[in-house]
């Protein structure tokens, strides 16, 4: 009912859908993006894109899944734009950056430490890890979405797991 109204252009109905789904989408984007400001911008992009495409949504997947996919695509688009800006930096170079990551945390709380360590990962590694181990994407899907070789994605995820496991063991 709500979705049908929103599909017909009812922005109040779309507002109710926003308030229902935005917290999960924002949690995902907060993990994927570099900072809160970027996550907030991507949230806006996601729902504006959702509004634009909603007339075509036929319910093949749950609305939440559909919005998640739009959010991930918005993030990947931003990542590709950043990649073009940083064309000199290869994924392999990102791996090398990891030497400086995951300094011991003085604050207690495993969740906080893990969140912080995820946030400290290089953007493409963070994306691969979150999509694989938090969102459940396949390696092939991630490779295709990020224009990265599947082997590189596996290496990124494996390295991220190692860093996070070490963080837990601390």
């Amino acid at each position: 009912m709500l979705v049908a109204r929103a599909q017909r252009g009812d922005d109040v109905a779309f507002g109710v859908l926003y308030h229902r789904h935005a917290p999960r989408v924002f949690a995902l984007l907060s993990r994927l993006a570099d900072d809160e400001s970027t996550a907030t911008e991507l949230l806006q992009d996601t729902f504006v894109q959702g509004w634009r495409a909603l007339p075509h949504w036929r319910g093949e997947s749950a609305l939440a899944t559909w919005l998640h996919r739009i959010a991930v695509n918005a993030h990947l688009g931003a990542l590709r734009a950043q990649r073009r800006r940083d064309a000199h930096e290869s994924p392999e170079m990102e791996l090398e950056k990891l030497a400086g990551i995951a300094a011991p945390s003085a604050e207690p709380g495993m969740r906080l430490d893990i969140e912080r360590t995820i946030a400290a990962l290089p953007p493409r590694m963070r994306t691969a890890f979150v999509l694989r181990d938090v969102e459940g994407y396949s390696y092939d899907e991630i490779a295709q979405s990020t224009d990265t070789a599947a082997g590189t994605v596996r290496a990124q995820v494996s390295r991220a797991r190692l860093l996070l496991s070490r963080e837990i063991e601390r």
Binding site: M1, L2, R5, G9, D11, V12, A13, F14, G15, V16, Y18, H19, R20, A22, P23, R24, F26, A27, S30, R31, T40, L43, Q44, F47, V48, W51, R52, A53, L54, P55, H56, M110, R111, I114, E115, D133, V134, Y139, A150, R154, R161, L164, S165, I168, E169
Partner: protein
């Protein structure tokens, strides 16, 4: 060697402790409270897939009225809510002249406002309403209340101010539509 590519190595996933920690991560995070209003503000400008942009021709008088309403809203949004506005939002008849109390348009709005208050205060009926949606509706009503106060003040200064009179009518219609729509929508949840 048979020339076939080697299968990808088996992925055993994160170790159990990491898996447990990831599963414990919060799945929801509250966005900034004003984000929806920002998004909503852009929706009208977004062309929708499958929905060709509708170009409506407006008359010069309509444009004048719309401009007046927009200006009134702009002024009202930037002003602080006065005590009178708060009173008006809790008692729909407060501050209305005798003429206004007989105006069918005003009476319809008063009835709709009372419907809204009754629905919002009915704990069973409003149990599933998202708090944020309710806050958004209250915010929209308060905004139009502020605009109404400004337009009514303009009309009080100049009873022949046609623009102010049209703005008041438009705002009342808008407020009634918001309330009616909100109740229908929220009851559907």
């Amino acid at each position: 060697m048979n020339g076939r590519p080697l299968p990808p190595p088996h992925d055993s996933g994160p170790d159990p402790r990491l898996r447990a920690a990831l599963d414990a991560l919060p799945r929801e995070r509250t966005p900034p409270p004003d984000k929806w209003e920002q998004i909503r503000g852009t929706l009208a400008m977004v062309p929708r897939d499958g929905a060709p942009a509708v170009r409506r021709r407006r008359t010069r008088m309509q444009w004048t009225a719309l401009t007046a309403i927009a200006a009134t809203l702009l002024i009202a949004f930037s002003a602080l809510a006065s005590r009178g506005i708060r009173r008006a939002s809790s008692d729909p008849l407060a501050g209305l002249s005798e003429d206004e109390r007989r105006d069918p348009r005003v009476l319809a709005l008063v009835a709709q406002t009372r419907n809204w208050h009754a629905a919002a205060n009915d704990s069973l009926r409003s149990a599933r309403w998202p708090a944020a949606a309710r806050v958004a509706v209250d915010g929209a009503i308060e905004s139009t209340n502020r605009a109404l106060v400004t337009a009514r003040a303009a009309l009080a200064r100049d009873p022949n101010d046609v623009t102010a009179r049209e703005a008041i009518d438009a705002l009342r219609d808008q407020q009634r539509a918001i309330l009616q729509h909100a109740i229908t929508l929220l009851d559907d949840i």
